[in-house]
């Protein structure tokens, strides 16, 4: 493994990959810091631009956008109390309280150091854990893979949706859309209704941009009359209030380690995501803190806990994707699409078929953290200025990038129609409580399910009991049942808490 890591570093330490990482970090921070634009939007817009470069450059650039975008979300959270993503909600509480006290430099510094520490720890776990897990998962045959994929659908559908039926319905709809076009196994055309343009199925990139990115533009358009907030870094006359000292960092290092551990663990489980990690880590840090009363009112420790946990998810969410082909959340689904477009099929075989590329990407992951630290630390003012641009400069550009991105995929105007249709579908899904990210995961995983299901049927013939002969099958059935049951309990508990809170308020 050490040889592979060293070879990965030698591949990544070249002009192309480094430029890709620098560009990805800058774009990620800017997009993440702009209220209304999330990291996922930045990745989806950048994705088509990576089609024509080497996978090492393209994928590391997208991962840099992801990492920097998640961190960038904390800038708007701290300065104008507008979290770019739900995961930054807690950072906004403590960070903005510090900004109002004239200590925004301290909050931004803590957020950056905690983010980078959390990401590095999770990346190290990813590097150490991914290859051994993939070696185990290589033992799985088509039957086990079918159960694994069914487990993934069940877990993601039941954990990520507004309710279990809505989450699972979103997944089923994604699966149904994935079956349109020529079947890769038999060559039959399905659901094409004689329209030749549907033979190739729905092009992934325009659909992805339509489902995940453009509805965010719709949201901005709906809120277009809300006044624009200018961001500014408040400076204290006392230099100690404008930065984090080594002593302060050391005092919260234990919290960072613990929160990164929580983030790494939560990120590795499909369907939970960075918000859950941030809330759990924040709660745990508050519970064990010497000054829990400061939390929510400008606690540096609170920022450290929330940021290290939500950034740790970046690295560990790659674990199920790279080892089992299961994207745990929307960003992982998007990145899985990027891997597939670049000819790398995520799964256990990737460590054997593309060893050099995958370890170069891992090395890029680590180097991105260093660049993020350097670039963000030296360019706070620039990023704040860029993120303060008015929405009528930003969103016309987003519209054009979305158009160009959709066109680039196949150089075909029909893809723009797909973009428009799926933009409307994606926004309508949000309105009726269906989950677009689960839809995309269903769409991506269905070809794998169908292929493995076909092979599994060929193996078992008419002896269907063989489906349940492997212990793996029972393990995944039990895990699926457990996740559905625990999701039901979790939802019941939160509904009960909400109604109690409502009664108390009344």
């Amino acid at each position: 493994m050490i040889d592979n890591i060293l070879s990965g570093f030698s591949s990544i330490l070249a002009i192309g990959p480094i430029l890709g990482i620098v560009l990805g970090v800058v774009i990620g921070i800017i997009f993440g810091a702009i209220p209304g634009i999330s990291a996922i939007m930045a990745i989806a817009i950048m994705l088509p631009m990576t089609f024509y470069v080497d996978p090492i450059i393209g994928i590391t650039m997208l991962l840099a956008v992801y990492k920097a975008g998640i961190y960038g979300g904390s800038i708007s959270a701290i300065l104008i109390n507008t979290p770019g993503a739900a995961a930054s909600f807690l950072t906004a509480q403590d960070g903005h309280a510090l900004t109002k006290a004239g200590k925004s430099g301290k909050a931004l510094d803590m957020s950056l150091f905690a983010s980078v520490s959390g990401e590095m720890l999770a990346t190290l776990v990813l590097i150490l854990v991914a290859a051994p897990i993939s070696a185990i998962s290589l033992q799985a045959g088509p039957i086990e893979k079918v159960f694994l994929l069914l487990f993934a659908f069940t877990v993601i559908g039941s954990m990520a949706g507004e309710s279990i039926p809505r989450g699972l319905l979103s997944c089923c709809l994604g699966m149904l859309f994935a079956m349109v076009g020529l079947d890769s196994i038999t060559g039959s055309s399905r659901f094409t209704f004689g329209i030749p343009e549907l033979m190739g199925g729905f092009t992934f990139t325009p659909m992805l941009i339509g489902i995940l990115v453009m509805p965010e533009v719709f949201n901005v358009i709906r809120r277009r009359k809300v006044p624009h907030h200018e961001m500014a870094i408040t400076r204290s006359p006392k230099p100690a209030d404008n930065r984090i000292s080594l002593k302060e960092y050391r005092s919260v290092f234990g919290t960072i380690l613990k929160s990164s551990g929580i983030g790494t663990f939560i990120g590795a489980l499909p369907g939970l995501g960075s918000s859950t990690a941030a809330f759990m880590a924040y709660g745990e840090a508050k519970r064990t803190s010497k000054q829990p009363e400061k939390y929510g009112k400008g606690s540096v420790e609170g920022i450290a806990a929330a940021e290290s946990a939500n950034n740790a998810v970046c690295g560990s969410s790659m674990i199920p994707m790279l080892t089992l082909s299961i994207p745990g959340d929307d960003v992982a689904a998007l990145l899985m699409g990027a891997f597939l477009i670049h000819g790398l099929t995520p799964g256990p075989m990737i460590f054997f078929e593309h060893t050099e590329t995958i370890y170069a990407i891992f090395a890029g992951f680590l180097i991105t953290d260093l660049f993020l630290l350097g670039i963000a630390r030296s360019g706070f003012k620039f990023f704040v200025k860029m993120a303060s641009l008015r929405r009528y400069f930003i969103f016309p550009c987003v519209t054009v990038f979305a158009f160009t991105g959709a066109f680039t995929a196949g150089q075909n105007m029909n893809d723009i129609l797909i973009l428009i249709v799926f933009t409307i579908v994606g926004y309508s899904m949000r309105l009726v409580g269906l989950n677009p990210a689960v839809f995309i995961i269903g769409f991506i995983l269905t070809p794998f399910l169908e292929q493995n299901l076909d092979q599994a049927f060929a193996i078992v013939g008419t002896d269907y009991s063989q489906f349940l002969a492997s212990p793996f099958s029972w393990v995944f059935i039990a895990l699926s049942a457990f996740f559905v049951f625990s999701s039901m309990r979790m939802r019941k508990k939160s509904a009960k808490d909400q109604s109690t809170a409502r009664e108390e308020a009344a």
């Binding site: 809505r166 399905r190 358009i221 277009r224 519209t399 160009t404 680039t408 150089q411 399910l449 076909d454």
Partner: protein, 154 residues
């Protein structure tokens, strides 16, 4: 807008589509025989869609018939929807116009329209951005990505 009514309509629609998938053999065409059968997986998925759509539809229908008022996520705020419709119209125009007028001419018009929709009235910088961005994208795509965006077709 009451989301429960949409739930009932959408569930009914999805169930009808699923029943068609379950009963119609003409939805797949040609190809080789397989152990699985070409419509096996779509039909399994259609079965699950009926199940989940029915759960959602029945829950909403029951809440409606009991006369409960919509609360929380059941209430869809419709303010600002006009802007969305205008934006969709601009995008449809973009899609229809690009093959004829070309990317370089249509894009500044679209960017200006979107900027106006978002309340932009500071024209000199908006016009500058709307002209420079398409030029950079057009030549950037051609030179670096080898993607040839549509040009004037008359």
């Amino acid at each position: 807008m009451d989301r429960r009514k949409i739930d009932v309509g959408l569930s009914t629609f999805l169930m009808i589509i699923s029943v068609i998938i379950l009963t119609n053999d003409n939805l797949a065409d040609g190809g080789a025989e397989s152990d699985l059968g070409i419509l096996f997986l779509p039909r399994v998925v259609a079965g699950f869609i009926i199940l989940f759509a029915a759960i959602i539809g029945i829950q909403s229908l029951r809440s409606l018939s009991q006369g409960h008022k919509p609360e929380g996520q059941e209430l869809i705020a419709t303010d600002g929807f006009t802007g969305i419709f205008i934006y969709i119209a601009i995008f449809v125009f973009y899609w229809l116009a690009v093959p004829y007028l070309g990317f370089m001419i249509t894009t500044p018009i679209v960017m200006l329209a979107v900027a106006y929709l978002l309340g932009g009235r500071n024209w000199p910088p908006i016009i500058a951005v709307s002209v420079i961005t398409p030029i950079l994208i057009f030549y950037g795509s051609r030179e670096f990505l080898r993607v040839y965006l549509p040009t004037w077709a008359f």
